[in-house]
């Protein structure tokens, strides 16, 4: 096989470099509009004369984690509220709460503990809707390692991402009475799950909606088939009682005095929750919306993600987006008590009362109730998603 394939391959390289070279001179097209690809805007509804422009900063690239906002855009829910929403993607070095505090976005999506750390650092940002009611962080390990609870982390190699995404691990270790410095070996983890599969890590940090799916999309070299959930033990931090609040909508605190901004925020939250409710009831339609917005992740991976994200939002007993005081207090107290390897905590003191408000989401839910949108999802049932190799 090798000789012929290789020959073909070299021809391929040669052709490719020729094509690249041939097109090289045309720098005059450099001004081509790339904004259109990055930032999609909704068309305003007819009866609305001057839609309010709104910029939303996401935490990461387009994926089903943010499906509700894309659905609200695609289905015209924002336009119905007379909003013209521009969704800005995140990236490696883009911190949504800083973009918001800088005034370059009107709203931002961020994890609560990270945003509170920015708030403690002087960024005046306020949580106006807690979209994800539950934490989606897991610690995944192979069955033969026998890690079924955080107490069994003792003596194991525990993967973590760092950059503020690791505090649930430390909270769980602290709760189990383990010393992060002595009782476990902490391993810095990459984007992918290769460390777990190759055995460098005994238990790897994973989000239910992303990295956990990645291991289930990988081929087990021993069997030639994909890994299944039966091959792994999963420790859920939410179930361990140390779950910290994650994706929430944050607003600019300095502008909350302005009634016009509060009005925009209420409409924005309402339309976003309407988008999430749409995604709860139309899982595959939302997958298609996200894929059409240019996500590079495969379709089955994206469907899995949509389904898992729905589980984090629905059912929402107090209404989607409502900030539950108990979960908030747990998050803020864990942020102050869970010590990482250097002995640091996310927060040095308790966040002040102005760090979150339920006023806006309450008004938004009232609007949605009047429109007949189901905002609690009490009858929500997750789907079963089958993953394919490579998430395709």
């Amino acid at each position: 096989m090798s000789k012929k394939t290789l020959k073909f391959a070299f021809a391929g390289i040669a052709v490719m470099s020729l094509v690249v070279g041939a097109c090289g001179g045309s720098d005059d097209e450099a001004t081509e509009d790339t904004e259109a690809a990055t930032e999609e805007t909704t068309a305003p509804a007819a009866e609305c004369t001057t839609p309010t422009p709104v910029k939303l900063q996401l935490q990461w690239f387009t994926q089903a984690q943010f499906a509700g906002y894309y659905a609200a855009q695609d289905q015209g829910f924002y336009a119905d509220q007379c909003l013209e929403v521009t969704i800005l993607e995140g990236a490696v070095d883009i911190t949504p709460q800083n973009v918001l505090a800088d005034g370059q976005a009107d709203f931002a999506i961020s994890w609560v503990s990270k945003a509170l750390a920015s708030r403690e650092g002087g960024a005046n940002i306020v949580n106006i809707a807690q979209v994800f009611q539950r934490s989606g962080t897991l610690q995944v390990s192979f069955k033969d390692k026998n890690i079924t609870s955080s107490a069994e982390f003792k003596g194991k190699k525990i993967g973590n991402w760092g950059y503020g995404n690791e505090f649930e691990i430390f909270a769980a270790l602290t709760k189990a009475g383990l010393d992060p410095a002595k009782d476990v070996t902490l391993v810095q983890q990459q984007f992918d799950m290769a460390g777990l599969l190759s055995g460098d890590i005994d238990a790897a940090e994973a989000m239910t909606y992303n990295e956990y799916a990645q291991v289930l999309e990988a081929k087990n070299p021993a069997t030639g088939a994909l890994y299944t959930a039966d091959d792994f033990n999963v420790v859920s931090y939410e179930a361990e009682g140390v779950g910290m609040l994650q994706d929430a909508i944050w607003a600019d605190g300095s502008r909350l005095e302005d009634p016009a901004y509060v009005d925009t925020a209420t409409k924005f939250v309402a339309a976003s929750i309407q988008g999430w409710a749409f995604c709860r009831d139309n899982v595959s339609a939302c997958r298609d919306i996200v894929v059409s917005k240019g996500s590079k992740l495969g379709a089955s991976h994206q469907l899995w993600q949509m389904n898992e994200v729905n589980k984090l939002i629905w059912p929402a007993a107090g209404g989607a987006g409502m900030i539950d005081a108990a979960a908030w207090d747990r998050t803020s107290s864990l942020s102050q008590t869970a010590k990482n390897l250097e002995g640091g905590t996310v927060l040095t003191k308790a966040p002040d009362a102005g760090a979150y408000t339920n006023d806006i989401v309450t008004a938004a839910l009232a609007m949605l109730d009047a429109m007949g949108v189901d905002t609690t999802g009490s009858g929500y049932m997750p789907e079963t998603v089958e993953l394919l190799e490579g998430g395709n």
Partner: protein, 289 residues
């Protein structure tokens, strides 16, 4: 002609040897990596860490995601071309700034003494720290109807890496004109400008070409890092980071984008080499001074 044939055959030989080395290591290398006193030094040779060359190449001809008609080669190619444009913009801006600074520094010694330390210092600022800042500044900038496009921030970072070697190389080149020749120009009562264009620049070309090559690859590095860091859609840097996330299930995918970035670097320095050939075509070979 013979030289070109020789050089292109050497290029092919170089690629073949890298491929052979890669596949050879896959045969003899330890599947799970080599450890020495608990520290892993030898990389893993398994298919996840090091996919076969033909797996990577055949990945080009399969769709990017299932159900889509777009083959991955066309995605990588358009990403590479997008980044090439940004790199060229960055490179030309870097050339303008670099050559401009070099002329200024060679004209006024006080500028050279005052500015050069800052230029050296500028290159010690880590690019990943600078990238989000440039994007943030750019986002705030509005001059009349001019709105800062996001891609321009990536080009600016390319400029940032490109201008320094160009400035230093050109400065060195401008100073390299033989003293006797400068005196001759002076005896003709030639103006500074005439000396610059008739003597100093032609003398500087041998110094400028390697500096431009460094600048060209610097522009590529700056653009790709900026794309990764700020997530600019459409470029090869963005593809690398998106495909890297899927390395668990589809390890060959990320390599397709990495090769695209490599092709980009080769193309850029190739363009400079080509311009070198064109520039030097009519120039008499210098007799050593």
């Amino acid at each position: 002609m013979r030289r070109i044939a020789y050089r292109s055959s050497m290029f092919v030989v170089a690629i073949v040897s890298v491929v052979a080395l890669w596949e050879f290591y896959k045969i003899v290398g330890p599947q799970d990596g080599g450890k020495f006193f608990g520290v892993s030094i030898l990389p893993r040779a398994n298919d996840t860490a090091m996919p076969h060359v033909w797996t990577m190449l055949s990945r080009y001809n399969r769709p990017e995601v299932r159900g889509s008609d777009t083959k991955i080669w066309s995605v990588v190619l358009s990403g590479t071309l997008f980044s090439l444009r940004l790199s060229l913009v960055g490179f030309f801006m870097g050339t303008t700034i670099g050559v401009g600074l070099a002329v200024l520094m060679s004209r006024f010694k006080v500028v050279q003494r005052g500015l050069l330390p800052y230029l050296v210092m500028s290159q010690t600022v880590p690019l990943i720290a600078l990238a989000p800042l440039v994007v943030s500044w750019g986002g705030k900038l509005e001059i009349g109807s001019f709105v800062w496009p996001r891609w321009l921030s990536a080009s600016i970072l390319g400029t940032f890496l490109a201008f320094f070697p160009i400035a230093v190389g050109t400065l060195r080149g401008l100073a390299s004109a033989p003293a006797a020749a400068v005196e001759l120009m002076d005896s003709y009562a030639a103006s500074w400008k005439q000396t610059l264009f008739k003597l100093r620049f032609p003398a500087a070309v041998p110094f400028m070409v390697p500096a431009f090559k460094l600048g060209a690859s610097g522009a590529v590095v700056g653009v790709v890092v900026a794309e990764i860091s700020t997530g600019l859609k459409g470029g090869i840097g963005r593809l690398i980071i998106e495909y890297a996330r899927e390395a668990t299930g589809d390890p060959a995918k990320v390599f397709t984008a990495v090769f695209g970035a490599a092709a980009l670097g080769i193309t850029m320095s190739g363009l400079v080499a080509l311009s070198d050939v064109l520039l030097m075509r009519n120039r008499p070979k210098e007799t050593s001074a």
